[in-house]
């Protein structure tokens, strides 16, 4: 049973329009939960939106013109990636687009002369090196589970992919910490102030450019959580699996906040070895089991 083209377009457009609101709200909830974990009251739920509105009102200043251009490209590519996923095209293609987008972010960090920004940009590349295997293997895992890279087919698979590829799920959730820039893997942007990196990659971004960066993060978060959702969704019990899927997505997000609040940043070598070890072990064991069973 395939979804008609018009409905797929509506999904893609809904993503483009709604993702920043969902992403911003998730960040607001995240900040509130973080504050509660530290026994603080915390900012209002809509604080991320207030921040964006403030950033847009600041007087424009940018270190180089290229920065604005590169960041806009980064944003457009991420939006396009997410829209492609929600449209239901090839998952492998989505992930490749995601890597291309990351490259633009790297360049946006590099074009400035600030050592903090350059250092952050280099670490961004290392991060990409760490999470890329897991991301590509996730696409492969979906292929093993469903027999297609097509998001549309994966979405309508008769059994939840997680039943067949739990190891790939673990690897994907593990690298989400890097992708969402949370401790202990916030190597490139250091979201807590007064660290050796200042604000890392985003040190030289101010006003409108920083707003672009933040909104893009929200788009990306929604995209990644949608992939988590795909692990759960099946077509035999669409409603139940859909609700469980949303539950798992929220739980994953909560887990990220918990990890963020309970761990300190690790050295990048540690991040690399840890991520690769987890990716290889969980995906490898999963693959072996699949080979034996089938």
């Amino acid at each position: 049973m395939l979804t008609p083209l018009s409905v797929r377009f509506i999904y893609a457009i809904a993503y483009i329009v709604l993702a920043p609101f969902i992403g911003g709200l998730l960040e607001g909830i995240g900040r509130k939960i973080s504050a509660r974990m530290q026994r603080r009251v915390g900012p209002p739920l809509l604080q991320p939106f207030y921040d964006i509105s403030k950033l847009l009102k600041k007087k424009r200043s940018q270190v180089t013109r290229a920065q604005g251009f590169l960041l806009t490209s980064y944003m457009l590519l991420i939006i396009f990636t997410g829209a492609m996923l929600f449209f239901g095209t090839d998952m492998l293609m989505c992930f490749l687009m995601l890597s291309t987008a990351a490259l633009f972010l790297y360049l946006a960090g590099c074009v400035t002369t600030s050592p903090y920004s350059s250092l952050g940009a280099q670490r961004e590349l290392i991060q990409e090196m760490a999470y890329e295997p897991a991301i590509l293997l996730t696409a492969l895992g979906f292929y093993l589970a469903v027999g297609s890279f097509d998001v549309e087919t994966i979405y309508n698979s008769p059994v939840s992919p997680i039943m067949i590829i739990p190891g790939f799920f673990v690897a994907f959730v593990f690298i989400l910490t890097i992708k969402m820039r949370k401790s202990p893997f916030d190597e490139s942007t250091s979201h807590h102030p007064h660290q050796e990196l200042v604000k890392g990659l985003t040190s030289e971004m101010s006003g409108r450019n920083l707003a672009i960066f933040n909104v893009t993060e929200w788009y990306e978060t929604v995209f990644l959580l949608a992939v988590v959702f795909l692990f759960i969704k099946n077509s035999s019990a669409p409603l139940v699996s859909g609700l469980v899927g949303i539950g798992v997505v929220l739980l994953t997000y909560f887990l990220e906040i918990l990890i963020d609040n309970t761990s300190a940043r690790v050295h990048w070598e540690r991040m690399l070895t840890l991520t690769w070890a987890v990716t290889l072990c969980s995906c490898g064991v999963n693959l072996l089991v699949l080979m034996i069973v089938r």
Binding site: P44, S53, K57, K59, S61, Q195, V198, L210
Partner: protein, 157 residues
């Protein structure tokens, strides 16, 4: 669009403070005072900051740094001098290397007295700064000249 006053981001710079005032500034972020309630974030990045909190007297060595930080902040921006050292030079005023308060180098808008300044008065100062932040934003929006703080030995309002 939300009010600009709901998201003031601070930059805290220690000029040559004895660290007494710095600890009080950080105390504002703890659960007891929790300034994040008001959307205040203590960012370490001048390019992203709206309010410049400066503690300690300015000396010959860090005067250019203070100036540079001030210049890197984009308008509208507000400067708050925290503690008597940042206000006037305080107990270090007569020291051979000390130039005096922060207003020797950059225009200061709000003076928070105390040695060390108490968290309550720091928050008070920041709240006043937020009001001024909005005022400057309106000036910027209406293309009026921005009001400037007090600069020792220079003109100001």
């Amino acid at each position: 669009m939300a009010d600009i006053t709901r998201s003031p981001w601070l930059l805290h710079y220690d000029a040559s403070s004895c660290n007494g005032c710095d600890i009080e500034v950080l105390a504002c972020l703890t659960p007891v005072f929790d300034v994040e309630r008001f959307g205040i974030v203590n960012t370490g990045d001048p390019m992203q900051a709206d309010i410049f909190l400066i503690t300690g007297a300015v000396n010959a060595q860090n005067a250019p740094v203070v100036k540079q930080i001030y210049d890197q902040m984009s308008d509208p921006k507000v400067v708050v001098a925290v503690g008597v050292c940042a206000c006037t030079g305080g107990v270090f005023k007569e020291a051979y290397n000390v130039m005096g308060g922060a207003d020797k180098v950059i225009p200061v808008d709000i003076y928070v007295p105390g040695c060390a300044a108490r968290p309550q008065s720091i928050i008070d100062g920041v709240v006043a700064a937020v009001g001024l932040f909005k005022e400057r934003y309106m000036q910027l929006k209406n293309k009026q000249p921005l009001s400037v703080g007090h600069l020792e030995g220079g003109e100001g309002s």
